[in-house]
């Protein structure tokens, strides 16, 4: 086993080999999802708790299906990040659920670094399902798997990540991973949504949409958090769509076989025009499908290391 950690906290601390190993495993699990009986006994008797301190139906469902296909018992626990209810701390909550013999926690939390904090303070295996604006490793892995399937390789590809980079854990996880895999990453978004210091990303920062899209094999559009729109980051949806959204005309600059990705849910007409969201080049539903296989792989690997 190339992967020896009990947790999957982020792409930042993984090696290239570890990333490729998880992708290999995911490809194997993908086959199971195509069978008529989509279930194997691999994690029978294991208890997986989806600890969601921030709502997310999609990611939680994907993890839940992944757990069930591996025959694990999956339990959902949700609570809000601020409600360390009745004075209970996050670690109190974790210890409590841990003591009911939980094997793996899948954790989503509103604060950056909180999943690492949990992982360091529990014996259970921990998988990060998104922590604040830090990381969302299984999303990056499913993105990579989708890219690999469509492009038959990873190294040397040109990828543009466009949108709210600062607040995107999807962007961060992808950037760390893609840098390690030899993918050329360009970033673009309104300056209000780019970190003050972009040098740690080691990516080219495009200065307009045309330049961002130019010669791309993959365009990854990020989701605009509409609830954040009321603040001073953006004037309006309309303005965003005009200068930072992707449409058919702008796509022409990319390679002919460029694929379009989006972590979902899409704000139609804002990040992506509807015709692009549903077009041939869009692989958005493949991403969702691959999410289950990647999460099966992650659960399987972590379960083997606890």
């Amino acid at each position: 086993m190339t992967y020896t950690k009990k947790d999957l906290v982020g792409m930042k601390n993984l090696t290239k080999d570890e990333i490729l190993f998880i992708l290999d495993q995911a490809e194997k699990f993908k086959e199971i999802n195509k069978r008529e009986v989509k279930k194997v006994p691999t994690l029978k008797g294991k208890t997986i708790v989806n600890l969601f301190f921030e709502p997310s139906t999609r990611t939680r469902t994907s993890f839940e299906i992944a757990g069930k296909r591996l025959s694990a018992d999956t339990i959902n626990f949700s609570s809000s990040s601020s409600s360390t209810t009745k004075g209970e701390t996050l670690i109190d909550t974790v210890k409590n659920i841990e003591s009911m013999s939980s094997d793996i926690f899948v954790v989503r939390h509103a604060y950056s670094g909180s999943v690492k904090f949990i992982a360091e303070n529990t014996k259970a295996g921990v998988i990060n399902a998104g922590d604040g604006t830090n990381e969302h490793p299984t999303q990056a892995l499913l993105d990579l798997l989708t890219i690999k399937e469509h492009k038959k390789k990873l190294e040397g590809l040109n990828v543009a990540i466009i949108g709210d980079i600062t607040h995107s854990r999807v962007a961060r996880s992808n950037i760390w991973a893609m840098n390690k895999l030899g993918i050329n990453v360009k970033l673009f978004g309104p300056k209000t949504m780019l970190p003050k210091e972009t040098t740690p990303f080691g990516c080219y920062i495009a200065s307009n949409m045309d330049e961002a899209v130019e010669d791309c094999d993959v365009i990854m559009m990020l989701r605009i958090q509409k609830e954040r729109m009321s603040t001073v980051l953006l004037p309006s949806d309309r303005e965003y769509a005009k200068f930072f959204g992707l449409n058919k005309a702008k796509l022409k600059k990319a390679k002919n076989d460029c694929i379009i990705m989006h972590p979902g849910p899409i704000n139609r007409g804002v990040e992506l025009s509807t015709e692009l969201a549903d077009c041939k080049q869009s692989v958005i539903l493949d991403q969702v499908e691959n999410g289950v296989a990647v999460r099966m792989a992650a659960l399987y690997i972590v379960a083997n290391n606890i």
């Binding site: 950056s112 670094g113 830090n134 003050k196 210091e197 972009t198």
Partner: protein, 421 residues
């Protein structure tokens, strides 16, 4: 009652000499090469004597949050750290915004008898940033300066009026310089590490904008301002400019800001979460230069004790602050060991200048006739900063459990030994 301490290297802001210190009652009687008669003779050959350290910026959490620290444990931590005079900030619970609380703090410190405690009163009632407190009355009760530290005074008119009003009494305002809107929900410096960790950033400009505002208000009112815990290179440029303009401004830096930079936050360790946040390497170096050049007048710890429960949480939820009284000496001595500062600089920054800023004419120098507030340091003593050494009620320091070098071996306040290692 007289004490003779022998074999010391006696350091002032402008002199260094070998000799013996003779203390009589609460006063330094003589600095001499002779060995005069004394009731008690202590031989501390090879150690360094400096004027008792004055920490212009501490948080003692008393009244109201005594589970973190109280005036007694704070005093004990102070003297163990070589500090004989402390100025606790007003963000207690209730806020020190009236003479009753000011008197309570002074009285409790007197009963404890380890340090001289001079409260900083709040600028505004309840530190709400709206109405001025009864500053005159609080000065009479023993307060020495005013600050809403922990919170900025966001309203520029309120700050202007505070500066104007305090002039009548010859005191001054201490600025916690932070534009709250710009700082937003930031928890660390807005730099490379914020990008890497996904933690929200506080831009350097949040500090600098308020510093320049307060400098300009001090200029307009011809009043006196002291800038607390300066942390950026830009802030120092602004303060340098103000000093050159003849504006009555002084400032302080905290040891953590010249010892650590933002890279310490790569692992989300909440013990490094402080406000202002740890900045970039460049800022750290600018602070060290500022200490040397005199742009920075004083070193103050911003001793900010917090209970473990307030730090053992998600980074965003963790309290800002670090204890500092017992790490002031080792962190500052590190700069001497690295040839960045001299011992005379040390004295200038930790007692001579603070005494001048605070108009304590009997402190800040080791000289016959001055008050016998003396700190004797063993600069080479290496030890583990653990529960045995730590006197604070709190342990929220990244240095807790680590090895340190340099310690207060003996602390004397008013001629009495208040700490002995």
């Amino acid at each position: 009652m007289s004490i003779l301490i022998k074999g010391l290297k006696i350091i002032n802001h402008n002199s260094t000499e070998e000799g013996n210190l003779l203390i009589e009652k609460d006063t330094i009687k003589a600095i001499t090469k002779e060995t005069p008669q004394a009731k008690e003779i202590i031989d501390l050959s090879g150690l360094v004597a400096v004027p008792g350290l004055i920490d212009m910026h501490v948080h003692f959490r008393d009244p109201g949050l005594e589970y973190k620290e109280d005036i007694i444990s704070g005093s004990q931590a102070a003297v163990a750290g070589g500090v004989t005079t402390c100025l606790p900030m007003a963000n207690t619970k209730p806020v020190n915004d009236n003479s009753t609380i000011t008197k309570y703090m002074i009285e409790k410190a007197k009963q404890c008898g380890l340090i001289d405690l001079y409260p900083i009163g709040a600028i505004t009632k309840g530190m709400k940033g709206e109405e001025l407190t009864e500053m005159g009355d609080m000065l009479e009760a023993g307060a020495v300066a005013f600050s809403d530290d922990g919170l900025p005074v966001m309203n520029s008119e309120v700050m202007r009026r505070a500066l104007e009003y305090i002039k009548t009494f010859g005191s001054f305002i201490i600025s916690h310089s932070e534009d709250k809107n710009l700082a937003g929900k930031g928890v660390i410096h807005d730099g490379k590490v914020a990008t890497i960790t996904g933690l929200k950033g506080i831009p350097a400009e949040a500090e600098e904008i308020m510093i320049i505002r307060d400098i300009l208000l001090a200029k307009a009112t011809k009043s006196r301002i002291h800038i607390a815990h300066v942390s950026t290179k830009g802030s120092l440029k602004l303060i340098k400019w103000a000093k050159e303009e003849g504006i009555d401004v002084t400032c302080e830096a905290a040891p953590h800001h010249f010892s650590f930079d933002e890279n310490c936050l790569l692992d989300y360790d909440t013990n490094y979460k402080m406000n202002p946040p740890l900045r970039e390497k460049e800022d750290l170096e600018a602070i060290i230069d500022g200490l040397k050049s005199g742009i920075i007048d004083a070193i103050a710890t911003d001793h900010a004790p917090h209970h473990r429960d307030e730090k053992f949480v998600e980074f965003d939820n963790a309290a800002f602050g670090i204890t500092g009284l017992q790490t002031l000496i080792p962190l500052t001595l590190k700069l001497i060991k690295d040839n960045k500062l001299t011992w005379q600089d040390f004295v200038r920054l930790t007692s001579y200048n603070p005494a001048k800023i605070l108009k304590f004419s009997d402190k800040g120098e080791l000289k016959a006739g001055k008050k016998a507030d003396i700190t004797i340091i063993d600069p080479d003593f290496t030890y583990l900063f653990d529960n045995k050494i730590n006197k604070s009620k709190s342990t929220n320091s990244p240095l807790f459990g680590k090895e340190l070098t340099g310690i207060a071996k003996l602390t004397i306040k008013d001629g009495k030994i208040v700490h002995k290692l």
